[in-house]
């Protein structure tokens, strides 16, 4: 910007101050300084006089013939149109609707997170099995045995120890145990024969992993 007056820094300062002095918004000491400067600076005095006239001219009422009451009537009519009422309704409910949507998304996210954490903590093993899933693998050589109800625990334990078998499942609802050989010395077929020959064993059948 190029300053239009010929004079020095005081005139630049005076130029900057003029609008605010005319507005009565400049501090009193600056207004006083400007008045003092104008006394001995003809150029700034002329400029200030013109600025004063400019302010007077700009402050005149508008010469555009507009009636406020007519305009207000049209505005009120416009507010009664359905579009305006809808717009205002949307403006008022906009924040509420946005907050409700955000809350719903947050609740869903938290729910999914909790569910995921719960599934993760269960080790990934579901508590159910579908028909399409492979059945739990059965160790080779396992035998399903149903001992007689009169067989003592000591006799049962002694039998398992003698045949080198160990219980790997059961008893189920009908009292059947699943046993498996626990040593290389015992074969399934031999154990099966001996179990069937033992008094107190009502049933001994091999378990096959596939039908």
């Amino acid at each position: 910007m190029t300053f239009p007056l010929d004079s020095g820094r005081d005139c630049v300062r005076a130029w900057d101050l003029m609008p605010w002095a005319l507005q009565d918004s400049a501090p009193q000491e600056q207004v006083q300084w400007l008045q003092d400067h104008l006394v001995h600076c003809a150029s700034c005095r002329a400029e200030y006089a013109q600025q004063h006239r400019l302010r007077q001219a700009v402050s005149l009422p508008s010469d555009i013939p507009l009636d406020a009451n007519i305009g207000l009537g049209r505005l009120l009519g416009r507010l009664d149109t359905p579009d305006a009422r809808d717009w205002r309704g949307r403006a008022r409910s906009g924040n509420w609707l946005t907050r409700a949507l955000v809350a719903a998304v947050l609740i869903q996210a938290i729910g999914i997170g909790v569910l995921g954490a719960k599934l993760g903590s269960s080790g990934g093993v579901p508590l159910y099995r579908t028909f399409s899933q492979e059945p739990a693998p059965v160790a080779a050589g396992t035998i399903r045995v149903v001992p007689d109800a009169a067989m003592t625990l000591a006799d049962w334990n002694a039998l398992l120890h003698r045949l080198q078998l160990q219980v790997v499942g059961g008893p189920n609802d009908v009292g059947a145990y699943t046993v498996a050989p626990n040593g290389p010395a015992s074969t399934t077929q031999q154990a099966l024969q001996q179990l069937r020959a033992t008094r107190g064993i009502r049933l001994a059948e091999p378990v096959y992993s596939a039908p």
Binding site: P19, L54, A57, V58, L60, S62, L66, L72
Partner: protein, 194 residues
């Protein structure tokens, strides 16, 4: 901002609060209170009365919708002027190149109502403002007419204070060069601009 400005702003805020609750009487009070200054401000952007009324009503329509969102970051007058300025620029883009219809010209009213001195002053200013850009005319009106500070004009026009300062400076320089000649005095353009 003096005490009178503070009182006026407090009243305006109360009116806005009532408007946010749907009080149309408050809207009417605010509308009538600002109609004159908005009309004059917008007349610096366009001379078409129909466009000016449309912009004023657009401005108050927005104020009615958004009254509840006014947080008091600025004076109500600054807020309203900002809305009017943006609506005015939008209207200029839409209607700026349309001719003014004869029955919309404001000449009749000014001839009937103005004193000779006022009419002369108004003509003098009008010819000077014709040399300025829309932005420069707006800043002259906001500073000299409405009495806003540079910061407030920056808020209204949504541009940096430095830009407002530059617009004011260049507007003043242009007016300084043309207004004396329009008043019958010799122009200072050549002799004073380095």
């Amino acid at each position: 901002m003096n005490d009178a400005d503070n009182d006026a702003d407090a009243t305006d805020r109360m009116l806005l609060q009532r408007m946010s609750a749907g009080d149309r009487v408050a809207l009417g009070v605010l509308y009538r209170g600002y109609h004159g200054r908005l009309c004059r401000f917008l007349s610096r952007l366009t001379r078409r009365p129909d466009v000016i009324e449309e912009v004023i009503n657009d401005c108050f329509w927005i104020a009615w919708q958004k009254a509840g969102n006014f947080h008091g970051d600025s004076r109500v007058s600054t807020w309203l002027m900002g809305i009017a300025y943006r609506c005015g620029l939008k209207a200029l883009r839409q209607h700026g190149d349309e001719p003014v219809e004869d029955d919309n010209l404001p000449e009749q009213r000014s001839a009937d109502h103005d004193q000779d001195e006022d009419r002369e002053l108004r003509d003098w200013l009008g010819k000077g403002l014709d040399r300025l850009s829309v932005d420069q005319r707006a800043v002259i009106e906001l500073v000299y007419g409405v009495g806003h500070s540079l910061d407030e004009v920056a808020v209204i026009t949504q541009c940096p204070v430095g830009t407002v300062k530059a617009r004011l400076f260049h507007a003043r320089v242009k007016l300084r060069n043309v207004l004396p000649a329009l008043a019958g005095e010799p122009s200072k353009q050549k002799e004073n601009v380095p």
